[in-house]
């Protein structure tokens, strides 16, 4: 793993100026986190928590009011930082008059690709996202799930090392959603870093190595998923070959600290990411 983080967000604050008598709005307040190369990082939070603003700042689409963001060490404000990024926005639309293949060629050309390598790469991406059969169909006739997969294909066309996915499964049916989840897992095995936001917490729990939970523009929890969902004030025991009698005597056995029972694992029982999310985002707003 490289020492340079894939994404670095340092004390990011974004204030949108007010217009026509409306006051300024602080969308993100002093948010810091890093995404290490090769991991899947989930950024979660309720609507209006500042996730999309943070993502846009990372992609250089918004200028931070304070703080800074970088991609593989290159400031996001530099266009060069986008050489290693692929982005899938929420509910993407593409030029409806182009076919799936033409769309990939268009985005490939924007990245400086051309000729046979572009054609071959586009074909590879169509195959990866399961759109080979629809490659010659106009995008205007694609379903939502197909558009999401085409969005993934365009994000990957220039072989980025970082994928930024904003609600990749929004509006997609369960089977399409599963395909996208499997693709994210596939990206991780290929060494691609993924920064993803989603409301489907069960899926996030399945694919993310680390998560950050945002609420009211602040980062309220951040860390490794297995650590975050551990319940600190409880301990679980995993026993092997425990009889019902033995189970009844657990308290005594534990107090005695010695018996034929083998303690295989001792740790913290897990809550679910969903429960943690609700707990974290319902905390009172900080001033």
């Amino acid at each position: 793993m490289s020492a340079t983080p894939a994404v670095s967000v340092n004390h990011l604050t974004k204030v949108f100026k007010g217009h026509l008598g409306k006051g300024a709005f602080r969308a993100v307040h002093d948010v810091s986190f890093t995404v290490e190369a090769g991991e899947v990082y989930g950024l979660i939070g309720p609507n209006g928590s500042g996730k999309s603003t943070t993502m846009k700042a990372i992609l250089g689409l918004l200028n931070p009011t304070e703080g800074h963001t970088s991609i593989f060490g290159i400031p996001s404000t530099e266009v060069a930082s986008r050489r290693s990024v692929g982005f899938l926005p929420e509910n993407p639309y593409f030029y409806k008059h182009l076919t799936g293949r033409e769309t990939l060629h268009f985005y490939g050309k924007l990245c400086g690709m051309s000729g046979a390598p572009l054609k071959s790469r586009a074909q590879e991406m169509l195959a990866l996202t399961g759109l080979e059969d629809a490659a010659t169909r106009r995008v205007g006739g694609y379903s939502k799930g197909m558009l999401q997969r085409l969005g993934l294909a365009q994000a990957l066309i220039h072989e980025p090392q970082l994928l930024v996915l904003d609600e990749p499964t929004a509006g997609v049916d369960p089977s399409g959603s599963r395909i996208i989840r499997d693709l994210i897992i596939e990206f991780r095995t290929r060494g691609i870093t993924v920064l993803v936001t989603s409301h489907l917490l069960e899926q996030m729990q399945e694919v993310c190595d680390r998560v950050g939970i945002m609420a009211h523009g602040r980062m309220v929890r951040e860390g490794r998923l297995d650590e975050l969902i551990a319940v600190e004030n409880q301990t679980e025991l995993v026993l092997e070959n425990a009889s019902p009698d033995l189970l009844a005597k657990i308290d005594a056995l534990v107090k005695a600290e010695g018996s034929g029972t083998r303690l295989l694992r001792s740790g913290h029982p897990r809550t679910t990411l969903e429960r943690l999310f609700i707990e974290a985002t319902n905390e009172p707003k900080k001033p």
Partner: protein, 307 residues
């Protein structure tokens, strides 16, 4: 798929430079996008309108008939190109933003200037294509009409026993001056230049405003003011005219709006006057200057735009 190599990215910090190929990709996509907006039927309708006008005028005299035809068709062409330039440009950016196509494009290594230039060139390519087609149709109709009017005039002179070689030569000269000449193409070129300047203004406004309607209305206002630029200058040169506030507003309008009267050669062409090469160079130079300045300001606005 090749294995990702995260460490290589940190080393590759070479800036992304302006790329004509990338601009062409964006321009071509913009042009095809606009083509899908059913612009072709409008173009065909315009050609039919021009053809109808060409043969629809009552014959007052051959010279006047040709002049009227040029005035009307070039006038309509001018309105068509300006309206198309403004509306198409005002629609493009908000549409890309609404569809999030702008995000997918600008999250690639695409400098914002390349995007802007691609969009502008795409619109201009379509205007230019339309003007070339209409110029060809106009030229054909004008040539046919010129030939028909000449034949009819000669026949009339003959019936009146006045078809002396001098009279026929004079008629030929009159019709040739009002008929198909290079002046017609220069008039179309001037129309293109004016549409280009107005389109660049629309691009600037669409970067500032988020409303398509606002962009369209304000660009039309600027276009109208731009045709009276000389009047504003004249007013400003009279030191005793108007209050200070009116003079400040006038100065700002003169500074912001392009002088579109510089491209008004349609009347001269319709009157059979010759457009000299120097005037063509001058118009082209002025247009290039306006485009450069407006595009530069547009870039400054767009590069800071929060998307």
């Amino acid at each position: 798929m090749s294995q990702a190599l995260p460490s290589s990215a940190a080393a590759s910090v070479a800036p992304v430079r302006f790329s004509p190929r990338r601009v062409w990709t964006l321009a071509y996509a913009t042009m095809t996008q606009l083509m899908r907006m059913k612009i072709l039927p409008f173009l065909l309708l315009f050609c039919a309108l021009v053809a109808a006008m060409g043969f629809g005028f009552s014959t007052i005299n051959p010279e006047q008939q040709l002049s009227q035809f040029k005035t009307m068709s070039l006038g309509v062409l001018q309105v068509f190109s300006i309206v198309f330039g403004i509306v198409a440009t005002a629609l493009l950016l908000p549409k890309d933003l609404e569809d999030r196509t702008l995000y997918t494009i600008l999250s690639k290594p695409v400098p914002r200037f390349d995007y802007l230039l691609g969009k502008l060139i795409g619109v201009l390519m379509l205007i230019a294509s339309g003007l070339i087609i209409i110029d060809a149709v106009l030229s054909l109709i004008l040539w046919l009409q010129q030939s028909m009017l000449f034949a009819s005039a000669v026949s009339q002179l003959h019936s009146e026993n006045q078809d002396s070689p001098e009279a026929v030569a004079q008629m030929r000269e009159i019709l040739a001056r009002q008929g198909l000449t290079w002046n017609l193409h220069w008039a179309v070129w001037a129309i293109f230049l004016k549409a280009t300047v107005v389109t660049t203004v629309a691009l600037l406004l669409s970067c500032i405003a988020s409303s398509t309607l606002f962009t369209i209305v304000i660009t039309f206002c600027i276009t109208i003011i731009g045709h009276g630029h000389a009047m504003i200058r004249e007013f400003l040169l009279q030191p005793n005219l108007g209050s200070t506030s009116i003079r400040i507003v006038s100065f700002l309008l003169a500074a912001i709006c392009p002088d579109l009267a510089q491209f008004d050669v349609v009347d001269s062409v319709a009157n059979g006057e010759i457009v000299p090469w120097s005037a063509v160079y001058e118009m082209t130079g002025i247009a290039a200057l306006y485009i450069t300045v407006y595009l530069f300001v547009t870039h400054l606005v767009f590069v800071e735009k929060e998307l």
